[in-house]
Amino acid sequence: MGRAAQDVVFVDGVRTPFGRAGSSFAETRADDLVVKVFRELLRRNPQLPPERIDDVAVAATTQMGDQGMTIGRSAALLSGLPHSVPGYSVDRMCAGAMTAVTTLSSAIMAGAYDVALAGGVESMSRHPMGEGMDPNPRFLAERIVDTDALIMGATAENIHDRFPHLTKERADAFALGSQQKTAAAYANGWIQPDLVPIAMRSSALGWGLMTADEGPRPETTLDGLAGLKTPFRPHGRVTAGNSSGLNDGATGALLAAESVADDLGLTKKMRMIGFAFAGVEPEIMGVGPVPSTEKALARAGISIDDIDLFEVNEAFAVQVLAFLDHFGIKDDDARVNPMGGAIAVGHPLASSGIRLMTYLARDFERNPQARYGITTMCIGLGMGGTVIWENVDYAGSK
């Protein structure tokens, strides 16, 4: 692809703490989560006049009720953005926010936009996975997909089948690592700077405030993981402990053309180099990040060896391992998810893509010697998405 007409920079990213479905945010509207994220982003970046935002794209998987009404536009209005700022909604299931970012960035690269606001939200309390779904009977009649394909956990078991050397033990070890890295990241104060405190209502308990993710279990042990049930198959490998949970949360990111960021005095945390999405057999959707990463690297003209940092969404431990295995990266490589991941903090479906980016931006900040990083994730119905970023603080580029 080479360099585009305008470079896109990731100015800033924030997120709500993620709640467990049915718990902290069960009585909180999804659009309100987006509103609070957007208002915090604008507060953190006062140099940006809000009317300079050319468009707002917000992703949600189930676009009904508080996640409907063209949430990009409705949340923009509710956030207090001027009427002149338009908005739209995006859906690519788990990679919703990632797609909102790549779509807006494409407009920036093409020179149509200068500044854009991206977001993602999922309230799995109020909109369980598959709500309102009505699969076409042809899927099964013509065997376009297996019945497994619509059950994410079953696809994870399928990955264990395809790659028998990716054992349950390795998956559990990876999961433990995610919990421990998350606890350390909290202890080091790496996560808190990008969390937006959110009021949560409970009719039974009254109003409270969330300032940290609800999901992490820092007390996790290998033994504890080993004893967990395998709901997707008897004597299977995939457990609640080595998968991400069902969660509620929202993320938001500010993107800009690099020259405009410079003009306005906005921070530049990383620069977009390229992106790709690719499809795989839906029954093993977890391997999606492999072809999307291959494609993105090829278009960017760099190789996997050039990548210094990885933020891989942890829908299932085995799916991350399949990705690492393909590229010959060790399970506990220090470049991979250094702050922990979705197994600990959770995966509110459409929002996670921007969480990965927010984490990568902080990874870059702590590692000025790192030049390139990728954010990558698997996606339902068998896809993968990858975005390649360059560290603006890269010491070598000065």
Partner: protein, 704 residues
Amino acid sequence: MSEATSVTENPDEVITHARVRVFDMPDGAGRMALITIDNERDHTRPSTFGPAGLASFDAALDEALDQVAAMPDLAAIAVTGKPFIFAVGADLSAIGRVNNRSIVHDFGKLGHDVFRRLGELAVPTFAFVNGAAMGGGTELALHCNYRTMSTGAAAMSLPEVFLGLIPGWGGAWLLPNLIGPANALEVIIANPLQMNKQLKPKDAKRLGIVDELFEPADFLEQSIRWAAGVVTGTVKVDRAEPDRESWDGIVEFARAMLDDKLHGATPAPYRALDLVQAAKTATRSEGFDAEDDALADLVMGEDLRASLYAFDLVQKRAKRPVGVPDKSMARPVTKVGIVGAGLMASQLAALFAKRLQVPVVMTDLDAERVEKGLQWVRDDVAKQVAKGRLTQDKANRLVGLVSGSTDKAAFADADFVIEAVFENLEVKQQVFAEVEAVVKDTCILATNTSSLSVSAMAAGLKHPERVVGFHFFNPVAVMPLLEIARAEQTDDETVATAFVVGKSLKKNCVLVKDAPAFVVNRLLNRYMGEIVRAIDEGTPFDVANTATDSIGFPMRPFALIRLVGPAVAFHVSETLHEAFPDRFYVSDNLRAMVDAGKSSFEVKGVDGSLSIDPEVVALFDQGDAPLTGDEVLERIGDALADEVRRMLDEGVVAEPQDIDLCVILGAGWPFWLGGITPYLDRSGAAERVAGGRFLPRGVASLVS
């Protein structure tokens, strides 16, 4: 913790529950215990505090304090409400049934004992006023050390004086000690006496009642973050100590203004003033005790009972008119016609266009008059745009809806035509005949007549059943009452349509019989007639003018006559004299005054003060049997009681409650009279001349 045993329990209390949650504040400020007050209903039933609600709050404070003791980093306690509502005061639903002074006193004390804890703790307390705060809800916030408010909150107030009470849970001591007596009196007395004017969030901030405002989108998050700043010291809250030197002078000035307006007619505002005076030097406990006494005295007084009755009429009966055919019988109104283009007709055109949003056509005798009427409407709309009440787009829409013609053929497709022409029966009959020739058979013909017979106006028509009285009060945009008069032949569909239209115009409609001057003007004229008769008999002018000061009508008789115009007052007295010659009095002196072109009994001096016009005095041929002020007052009371009795016997309206509602909404007669019949009962006039009380004891009065 206080005992609740001596306080009345109200089985109907919708309990406001207080729940505590503890969490980390941001920015490492420690933990906060947040109390949420929620009556578990939606915003249509705002949270109030009865005895059980106070007990729940007390328990929540205990729980929060237990947490403070258990967690050394519990650095703040805060209170917030349910969506849109913080809290709107004490639960008054049982007050009308209370007959024991000590029960009231104890209820006041209970609220004090519970809420004062918020100001007497070792940790700082915060009120996050997320929505409407009134009365005891405002007082709860005042007891806290700090307050934030949402810019989306509908209102804040201390409305107690409006109802005939005083802020009884700390407001009369806390507010002046927070913001000084001048601003406190604005909130505690002046606003309640101005039709219960509410404060907007920016007013609350300007006056210093709240420390900081935050937008509704993330109000609670920002309030908690602000509170964290207060706790860590990064946020400084400056409070100016009120000036005690000027305190007395400010209170005295306020007392003079109150006397000027009320002449001592009702006790509550004066008790409130006394409390604010005492707050200058009283301790917190002395102030709260004084509030308990004042509250108990007022609740055990007739004025408050009448006020509660009046408030209830305005809140409930005004919205559900009695004896009206179902709205399903109403006909749609998609075009309105107005006969006349004078001031009244123009006001009606503007009102109908604004509220019904349908085409309105005005007619008059010539093009010049029509144009003048249309110009009035355009000017009225332009004024609203200038005040920021209408956008230019909406203004264009309204102006586009109103048109004019000299030809009544313009009414051909109208569904509702109202006439506002000269107050003369023959003229109105002629107008209706001309209109009937043009409109369809089911078009409603409405008359704004204030004293002529609607039945007489309908008599000569082919379809008299669609004629109805539709009587507005001046100024049309402001006065809420609409008297809807059912004439002899008016059918149910017409009455139903009239009420639907009235409601769409945002008026409070009362069904009245087609009797001369309906309700309000009949009573006002009986009253004014007695004043003029007293003067004719020899009573000094100023004695007659001040005779009703002690009951507190909204204006003195001469001011009322100046407002109505002596010519109109005289004209109506003639009409009513014709209908009821033995009671309605036509004064030759008043006729002379009208003939001389005098528009008022009073003249304004260079300093703006009013005095009796000597030229008017000279016109009056007075007798030599003067009455005292008290005698005049008794005569007025008896006259009103007599007239009300007759009106009820004639079936002009269904019940005394309708009489009261009409005079409250149409004449602005005060709540503490209950409109008028509670006053007539309590003064003995009803028993003296009307054969007994109008309302049973306890309905608008103390039970014993």
